[in-house]
């Protein structure tokens, strides 16, 4: 034990205690205490507080490998690797000795939804603390068995050894039992400067499996005796089935095992997938529906949503907003309905056997889905078991929960066989819950020094979350059965207000949300309201900078006080310094701190505009991100790169269209997204802050990218696009 470091630890402890808000762990029995690591945290991560037992998070297998449990699921964000990394790090195991079990109602902690960029902050940190506690307990038990003090033991590669050569594997230490102790503070964590895995670009093992065509996605899960199903959706939200001739179907399409008709819910089951498709095609052609006109087609949606009955809520207020007199600047911004648009339409497998229902799903919340299914299907919680299997990405609430509910209904009508249901492209496009349309009306004043004196936002939006959350009325087929459920609006406006308050220092401020029930089905899409809000705020910041005759970067910096925000912007400025801009080109910048509490992200976009045609070619996107402590550097970069490209697609191309009956965006021609010809070069710079807590970053780039592009278009051609998407008719001329 090095005396000097020990003294250092004690003095740091005193210092931290002096700071008044931090708990310090200091254990003389732990080998790491020698290098003076502390736990500077006075509370356990939320998920760990709800599930405090070590065995809830990890177990030691007979061969000495460690199995880690997370209540989160893999969406393509690489959480599987990041969580395995923190566990392997704390336990000093190689990555291949750690396996991960994703969300499963029968096995893992209930961590509700994989959403809100929260998986690192909650689940990975819970695993880190649980693994650190496990290490401590394993060493203490090994010390008893070996008759040596912990300080004389080495833990490496899953083996505890003494200097004299005595060895115990992790499995030997536990004698086949698991660690049932609860994790309690203080916990000694591994010193960060000794990390071998965390912060590194540890590659994801699932990409290797996918590239070989091994089963990763739910779409590729094949179960013995599995049959194939398809559903036939009504012609619109309000359509009613008038006539369906089941006998004619059986005559026309051989191989149909079962047709399920329950009110307006229709499904077909066949042993052969193509037979199910033929049955589905036949019924789409021959079933008769009454389809009333219910949607506000042909009207300006921005105008329409402002006219709807609204529930108004003041979400932020500071100082006084001047009324009447004085020069104010006003602008109104709009984002349309956006689609999740998974490339693989939603898919689920359900098996009803012996009164129990087993579901395999790419839902982002298996526990809330179980709760909703159980209530809806009148089963007990014990009778429903839901297992997460990765699906096709989109980052949000797409058709995953609905297709699982569809499959559950079909499986209960056809017990004993796993029923695989694959939605069609058209069903996914036309029925998924979209990201809500939003209208943002902004007003601000400038003082004599060119600083913002007041800021006012009025925001119209539908909810940004209709995830099932235990409520069956959120499941699409529940609307279609003979005894239909009516969607209960959640009254949750938190998603709408996300990032509605600017991260800038403004003395007088007022933010009102006006919650409406819009014409289309909506739910959570990556970043919720933050995309629309940051697009509006950061577009408006450029407009105000111009009025104040300031450079957009300088204007932002003069309104920021958080040094970390200033750092990401100044780093972005450095990256742009060498850029040359030709005629018809422009560079725009933007900044936000996601949720105003998570990752900091500054984005720049360089575009070339063809003013005659109104076409916008993206040339490059840059991001500078500060997500606190980085767990997987490449995973973080991948999230920001992909987030920028997805947001660019939303911003430049996307808008869900509908007629009086239903959604008309039903394929990739009527709802285009970016293709390779549209994709710019992307560069991500990470500001690593290993001593800070990790901050959720998966959604941090969505809002800033939109505004950076729109600001770049303005600088390229002088056209300010306030209503998304940036279509050629808004840019031309």
């Amino acid at each position: 034990m090095k005396k000097s470091s020990l003294a250092g630890a004690v003095s740091r402890r005193k210092f931290l205690k002096g700071a008044g808000c931090l708990t310090v762990a200091f254990s003389m029995t732990d080998t790491w205490a020698a290098v003076g690591e502390v736990v500077a945290n006075d509370r356990l991560p939320d998920s760990l507080r709800r599930h405090p037992r070590v065995s809830a998070w990890l177990e030691v297998l007979a061969d000495g490998r460690v199995r880690v449990f997370t209540g989160k699921t893999e969406l393509g964000q690489g959480i599987r690797t990041a969580i395995a990394q923190v566990a392997a790090e704390e336990l000093d195991l190689p990555m291949e000795r750690v396996e991960l079990v994703l969300a499963d109602t029968g096995r893992t902690p209930d961590e509700r939804y994989t959403a809100g960029s929260a998986s690192i902050e909650s689940s990975a940190m819970s695993v880190r603390y649980a693994a650190a506690a496990a290490r401590q307990l394993l060493l203490e038990r090994a010390a008893q068995k070996l008759g040596r003090p912990v300080a004389q033991l080495q833990l490496e590669n899953g083996v505890v050894s003494t200097a004299g050569g005595k060895k115990l594997t992790l499995a030997d230490i536990l004698d086949g039992k698991q660690i049932e102790d609860e994790v309690r503070l203080p916990i000694t964590l591994k010193p960060k400067h000794t990390y071998r895995l965390v912060r590194k670009e540890v590659p994801r093992s699932d990409i290797g499996r996918m590239v070989r065509g091994e089963q990763v996605h739910i779409h590729d899960l094949r179960l013995p005796g599995m049959v194939h199903a398809r559903v036939i959706r009504p012609g619109s939200y309000q359509a009613r089935l008038k006539k369906l001739d089941e006998a004619a179907l059986r005559q026309a399409v051989p191989g149909i095992l079962k047709t399920v008709v329950d009110g307006n819910f229709i499904g077909v089951i066949a042993a052969d997938e193509y037979a199910a498709i033929k049955g589905q095609t036949y019924l789409y052609q021959h079933a008769e529906w009454s389809v009333p006109d219910t949607l506000p087609a042909g009207k300006s949606l921005a105008y329409h949503i402002k006219e709807l009955p609204a529930k108004t809520e003041r979400v932020a207020e500071k100082g006084i907003i001047p009324s009447g007199s004085g020069a104010v600047i006003k602008a109104s911004y709009f984002k349309p309905y956006l689609m999740h648009g998974s490339i693989g339409p939603s898919c689920a497998i359900a098996l009803f056997e012996g009164g129990n229902l087993q579901i395999w799903t790419h839902s982002q919340g298996v526990f809330p889905l179980r709760d909703a299914l159980q209530k809806w299907l009148k089963l007990s919680a014990e009778q429903v078991h839901v297992t997460a299997v990765p699906g096709s990405g989109c980052y949000g609430h797409n058709g995953a929960d609905d297709v699982a509910a569809d499959a559950a209904l079909l499986a209960m009508a056809y017990p004993g066989k796993p029923v695989r249901l694959q939605w069609s492209r058209e069903e996914e496009h036309a029925w998924e819950p979209y990201g809500s349309a939003m209208l943002m009306e902004l007003e601000a004043g400038l003082d004599n020094a060119g600083k913002i004196s007041h800021w006012k936002l009025d925001l119209w939006s539908d909810t940004h979350s209709n995830r099932p959350g235990g409520d069956p009325s959120k499941l699409l087929p529940a609307w279609h059965r003979k005894e239909p459920l009516t969607l209960k609006t959640s009254g949750f406006s938190g998603g709408t207000a996300r990032n509605s308050e600017p991260y800038y220092t403004i003395p007088n401020l007022q933010i009102d949300t006006h919650s409406i029930a819009g014409p289309l089905r909506v739910s959570a899409l990556r970043s919720l309201g933050a995309y629309g809000n940051v697009f509006a705020i950061e577009s408006f910041m450029d407009e105000l900078a111009e009025k104040a005759e300031k450079d957009p970067m300088a204007f932002r910096l003069m309104h920021l006080s958080d040094q970390r925000a200033i750092t990401v912007l100044t780093k972005l400025q450095e990256l742009l310094a060498a850029q040359k801009v030709s005629s018809g080109e422009g560079i725009g910048i933007s900044f936000a701190r996601y949720k105003n509490t998570s990752a900091y992200c500054a984005v720049a976009a360089k575009v070339a505009v063809n003013a005659k045609e109104g076409s916008v070619q993206m040339q490059q996107l840059w991001a500078v991100v500060d997500a606190g402590e980085v767990i997987n550097l490449d995973g973080l970069k991948n999230q920001i790169e992909g987030g920028m490209i997805q947001s660019a697609s939303w911003t430049l191309k996307e808008e869900v269209q509908f007629d009086a009956r239903h959604v008309t965006s039903r394929d990739w021609v009527s709802y285009p997204i970016v293709r390779f010809s549209d994709v710019p070069a992307v560069a991500v710079t990470v500001v690593d802050r290993p001593t800070e807590p990790p901050l959720g970053a998966g959604e941090a780039a969505q809002g800033p990218t939109a505004a950076a592009i729109v600001n770049a278009v303005y600088r390229a051609c002088g056209k300010r696009v306030r209503h998304l998407p940036v279509r050629p008719d808004k840019v031309a001329g």
């Binding site: 996918m210 096709s392 989109c394 980052y395 490209i645 990739w668 970016v674 992307v682």
Partner: protein, 155 residues
Amino acid sequence: MEKTLTLQVNGKKHTVTVDPATPLLYVLRNQLQLNGPKYGCALHQCGSCMVLLNGKANPSCQIPVDAVTTLSITTLEGLIRPDGSLHPVQQAFVDQQAAQCGYCLNGMVISAVSLLQETKKPDDTAIREGMQRVLCRCGSQARVMRAIKQAAQHS
């Protein structure tokens, strides 16, 4: 109505008894239990279901299985070399971590293999053109381009 057909898939002969109108995609996935080609749209709009037909990338979601009995069909699985090592394009996708959810990976890899067979050292424009048919929702395209450049250097 069903017919017994012989297909050449990944260097082997396979005999299947199916409705001859069945699109190739479903036969590969269900009768042959291959995971590579994925269902995406069945409209030739997204590229998820790409396979190599006589070495060229083609969607498999519409073409009837009895139209391909004389062609050599290669799926993602068939790119793996006999010793179990990866094709340079597959390896480049792993090295560049060119995926998020990975649902589009099949279309990306198959299209890239086809592109590099026609153009040994494609520039950015040629890569974009060669990959234009394949959609990705997670925004992995920038990484896919890096992977294709890596593969082009090593092939």
